[in-house]
């Protein structure tokens, strides 16, 4: 478990949007998908996923429908709305800019005084 990184605050929403953008998923499926696309490098507490899902539904970025899962169980499936898709694009861009900026900042070598 030690090789897994803690999520930065606010990044869970972005990960959820990304996971769902690849196709409708239920909650557990989203968790698995995040693990899969991040190479199991990110730690998401299982329960903590759900407040995020409810928040995104309220903001109109996700919509949810009950359906039947591959395990033949009833489950709530989430998918992106148009607003969610737009949001994902914007957030991805701004994240990339931020990450690049931080990476640049951190890659500077200390100057000799």
């Amino acid at each position: 478990m030690n090789d897994q990184a803690q999520l930065l605050p606010g990044t869970l929403d972005l990960l959820i949007l990304k996971a769902v953008s690849l196709g409708p998923l239920h909650g557990y499926g989203i968790l698995l998908r995040i693990g899969q696309i991040s190479g199991n490098a990110l730690l998401v507490e299982q329960g903590a996923l759900y407040p995020g899902l409810f928040r995104l539904v309220r903001q109109g970025l996700l919509k949810a429908n009950w359906g039947v899962s591959e395990n033949n169980r009833r489950a709530k499936f989430y998918e992106l709305t148009a607003a969610g898709r737009r949001r994902l694009r914007e957030e991805t861009d701004s994240w990339n800019r931020l990450a690049a900026a931080i990476a640049t900042a951190l890659s500077q070598q200390p100057e000799e005084a």
Binding site: L14, Q46, G47, R58, G60
Partner: protein, 890 residues
């Protein structure tokens, strides 16, 4: 990463929907989380462990399900309303835990808010709300600007009506009394004489039958019609529609009943509701003075109308002024240079409105102060509660609750109390206002006090409740923000001795000062009233009956009236027990009084501007002075020989003699002139007295004319008796019936009659007394709360003092020194303020002066008593401390 809500409204709807669908949502959420755990368990099972084991592990991995569900709820937005509900539930639980505090707080607020609601409703009903007629806001009455006199003559009214271009239609009305004969007992009625266009100008529709219209007016006495008010129709004709069209007799003249007004219409004068309406053109059949042609005789009570759309009051005033200029030019003898002003209808112009408005505004201010005092009171209670709950607050803070959340909850508690108090106060005030609306303080005078509460009163009460809840709710805010959880939990209940001045102290001083102001002003008013009751009236109302009769109601003409009046005086004077009987047209301090311009003997141009003075006029029979016990200072009394054939004479008072005749000493034998040129010789001089319906009046010139020379058909018999006058009422009625069975008479004692004159002062005193008592109660609870709190906080310290051998006085001083000091300080401040504020009272309550040792002593005594009362129980508690028990417990 949080987005703003795309559509606030949709989001709100969503929140409300989530609120009401909470149970459904709960079930769905539960199912979703269970589904998650099942899926996880499926995966774990696949890795080779048993199903039961897999499900257990899945549940553990998932974590605190309830916590996440709560977070989901918040994320879904059910949040703020839900937190509010939680706060309300929690607050209600907290308040239920201390019922004494809750009840005291709610009652305090109920009284304070109730008082405010009542005063505001009266202010609203009399001054803020337009008359209850269609488009009442554009209705104005016309007042002569130069003498703020609203009464006009009939020809002037006609000119104003026809020559102005600003009003849609100018209507007029006057108030008269008459005798109504429907075939049964004759009864005394009050009615409006109205112009033909009255109902049409106001836009009132008949409830039954039809109204009078302009087309009915065809010269004097051409429209013998009656329109009944709904109330009179119900009380006297049982709401029978068949009376419409029937003929009744008013002062023996036949009148036809045309219709009935709607129930909500009570005429256009606040305070007074007539029994029915009769055309102005027929007034002379009812009262001799209602002359339709005399431009100099002003008797049309009020002229009013709706402004045309788009015309401003200023434009209308300019328009009326030009009519006034025309009138002055055309009739210089009768009409002074007149400018006009527009006033609110219903209060008789500016005649008594300013004093009433000032008084009500003063009351409103005092009621506001009461509410402030109540807020200060509750604020300090809340602060005390908050510091007692310091431990609880600290615990909650330590457990991660936000300060905002705690404050929100405290404020919810305050608002809950204030809303409960506001609701209770409003209910009480509605009941009180309802009784006030139906109040009839004068038996012979139909009152209509339109103070029933309306939406604005409810709004004001709600607003006051919220504001005051907020006010006393924020008092503990600083305390909560300063709370350092670790220190309090460590130190136990704060036993620090706070020696500096706290917010609570300031609040208590302010509150006591406000209460002392109220106590001072109510004492000033009570003293003033008591003194004015004993002031010199110029007559002696004890043991006197007044018998009001109007011979014109029984159809007497002027010449027959004089003989009849003599017969009545003789017959009533012969009743055993009657010591003196006299006649007067209107007794002093009656609601109505006659005034006339008088001129010096040298004046030849008798226009109003040249008058030497306005004198109150009485028409009396010779026995009046004896019956009223008015002292004759010099000269002779009037006699029965001063009749139509004799030279005109009068008895005047000292003020008259000094003002018009030069001096009181050589007034006898001098002459003065009436507006019609009549020369009158002064034959006697009497003491000054009180004449108009206001004990606070300045000395007024008055003249007493022989009723034989200046006839009046409406008179009061002044009947002095040497036994209880009430026993004579039956004998008087019998005697009058023997003389004329068709003559209505109204009998009451002079003391009762004086209620009218004392009405303003009494009402002022009673309302101030009530506010003063409320102030006193508030200061008791305030001091009590403070003293009790200070004793309970320091029980342990006091116990130690006692154990170490402190004397009783020392214990008391330690426990109560501070509250008593605050009390003294607040009272002194309040006394000074109260003395300043009471200057205003002097204009309403005659002889009210705060510079009165009795008042000052009374205030000090009252506040001391209040302090004693309020600190009694805490003092007992401090003295009865048993150090052993106390030390063992802690």
């Amino acid at each position: 990463m949080k987005l703003p809500d795309p559509l606030p409204f949709a989001s709100l709807r969503f929140r409300i929907a989530t609120l009401f669908q909470r149970s459904r949502m709960n079930a769905e959420m539960e199912e979703e989380l269970r589904s998650h755990i099942q899926h996880r368990a499926d995966d774990l099972e696949r890795s080779g462990i048993g199903r039961a084991q897999a499900e257990r592990r899945a549940r553990i991995e998932f974590g605190g399900r309830e916590k996440y569900k709560e977070e989901c709820h918040q994320a879904a937005g059910g949040n703020s309303i839900e937190i509010l509900l939680q706060d309300v539930r929690y607050s209600a639980r907290q308040l239920r835990k201390s019922p004494g505090f809750t009840i005291a707080a709610v009652l305090t607020l109920a009284l304070a808010i109730g008082a405010n609601a009542v005063v505001f409703a009266v202010l609203n009903g009399l001054f803020l709300r337009p008359l209850k007629v269609p488009h009442g806001e554009s209705l104005y009455a016309i007042q002569r600007g130069n003498d703020t006199y609203i009464i006009q003559s009939y020809p002037d009214y006609i000119d104003l009506r026809d020559r102005n271009r600003s009003f849609e239609s100018l209507a007029a009305y006057t108030i008269v009394q008459a005798g109504l004969d429907t075939g049964k007992d004759p009864s005394h009625v009050w009615l409006y004489g109205v112009s033909g266009n009255y109902f049409d100008a106001l836009g009132i529709q008949p409830y039954a039958g039809r109204f009078i219209h302009s087309s009915d007016e065809q010269g004097p006495n051409s429209a013998p019609y009656i329109v009944l008010t709904y109330g009179y129709w119900h009380s006297h004709f049982q709401g029978d529609r068949s009376v419409i069209g029937s003929v009744v007799r008013l002062n023996k003249h036949p009148f036809t009943i045309l219709g009935v007004t709607p129930p909500e219409f009570h005429g256009t004068l606040l305070f007074f509701s007539p029994d029915f309406f009769v055309p102005l053109v027929n007034q002379q059949q009812l009262v001799a003075w209602a002359d339709l042609n005399a431009r100099g005789t002003r008797w049309v009570f009020e002229v009013l109308g709706h402004l045309k759309p788009g015309v401003t009051p200023a434009q209308a005033k300019a328009d009326l002024d030009s009519v006034g200029a025309y009138l002055h030019q055309a009739y210089p003898k009768e009409d002074d240079q007149a400018s006009f002003s527009l006033v609110r209808p219903g209060l008789h112009g500016d005649f008594f409105a300013p004093a009433m408005r000032a008084f009500l505004a003063g009351l409103m201010l005092l009621a506001g102060l009461i509410l402030l005092a109540a807020c200060a009171n509750l604020g300090s209670l809340f602060a005390a509660r908050a510091s007692d709950r310091g431990r609880e607050v600290a615990l909650r803070l330590a457990l991660g609750s936000s300060r905002i959340r705690i404050l929100r909850q405290l404020l919810t508690e305050a608002i809950l109390i204030s809303l409960a108090g506001g609701a209770a106060g409003l209910l009480g005030s509605i009941a009180l206002l309802h009784r006030l609306s139906g109040w009839q303080p004068f038996p012979q005078f139909p009152m209509n006090i339109p103070v029933s509460p309306d939406a604005s009163v409810y709004l004001v009460a709600l607003g006051l409740a919220l504001v005051s809840g907020f006010l006393f709710g924020i008092v503990p805010v600083r305390q909560v923000f300063r709370t350092n959880p670790y220190e309090i939990v460590k130190a136990g209940s704060s036993a620090r001795l706070v020696r500096r001045i706290t917010v609570r102290d300031i609040l208590l001083v302010a509150q006591i000062a406000i209460c002392a102001v109220l106590v001072t002003s109510s004492l000033v008013a009570v003293r003033g009233l008591a003194r004015s009751m004993r002031s010199k009236l110029g007559f002696e109302p004890k043991n006197v009956l007044l018998v009001d009769t109007d011979l014109s109601m029984a159809g007497y003409t002027e010449d027959r009236a004089a003989a009849m009046q003599r017969r009545i005086v003789d017959a009533v004077g012969a009743i055993p027990g009657v010591s003196a009987v006299g006649l007067v047209d209107t007794p002093p301090l009656h609601m109505g009084w006659g005034v006339s311009n008088v001129f010096t003997d040298q004046t030849t141009d008798l226009r109003p501007a040249n008058a030497a003075a306005q004198a109150v006029t009485y028409k009396i029979s010779p026995e009046y002075f004896q019956a009223a016990r008015t002292t004759l200072l010099a000269g002779r009394n009037l006699s029965l020989h001063d009749d139509k054939d004799a030279p005109r004479v009068a008895v005047v008072n000292r003020e008259f003699a000094g003002k018009i005749l030069g001096s009181a000493t050589n007034a006898l034998g001098k002459h003065y002139k009436m507006p019609d040129g009549t020369r009158i010789e002064v034959v006697g001089l009497v003491e000054d007295g009180k004449y108009t319906a206001n004990l606070a009046e300045a000395p007024q010139p008055a003249m007493f004319l022989p009723i034989l020379q200046f006839p009046a058909s409406e008179t009061a018999l002044v009947l002095r008796s040497n036994r209880d006058p009430e026993q004579l009422v039956a004998a008087i009625r019998r005697t009058l019936r023997d003389l004329d069975a068709g003559l209505p008479a109204f009998i009451q004692t002079w003391d009762e009659e004086m209620n009218g004159a004392l009405f303003a002062a009494r009402t002022a005193t009673v309302s101030l007394g009530i506010l003063g008592m409320m102030g006193a109660m508030l200061s008791i609870t305030g001091i009590f709360g403070m003293a009790a709190y200070s004793v309970s906080k320091r029980l342990r310290e006091l116990g130690i003092r006692i154990a170490l051998g402190a004397k009783r006085t020392e214990v008391l001083q330690a426990a109560l020194g501070r509250p008593v000091k605050l009390l003294a300080f607040g009272s002194a401040a309040g006394l000074v303020l109260g003395v300043l504020a009471s200057q205003v009272l002097a204009s309403i309550v005659y002889l009210a002066t705060p510079r009165d040792p009795l008042v000052l002593g009374g205030v000090v005594l009252a506040m001391a008593l209040l302090g004693l009362l309020a600190t009694w129980i805490p003092a007992q508690r401090a003295l009865s401390i048993d150090p052993l028990i106390l030390l063992r417990e802690e």
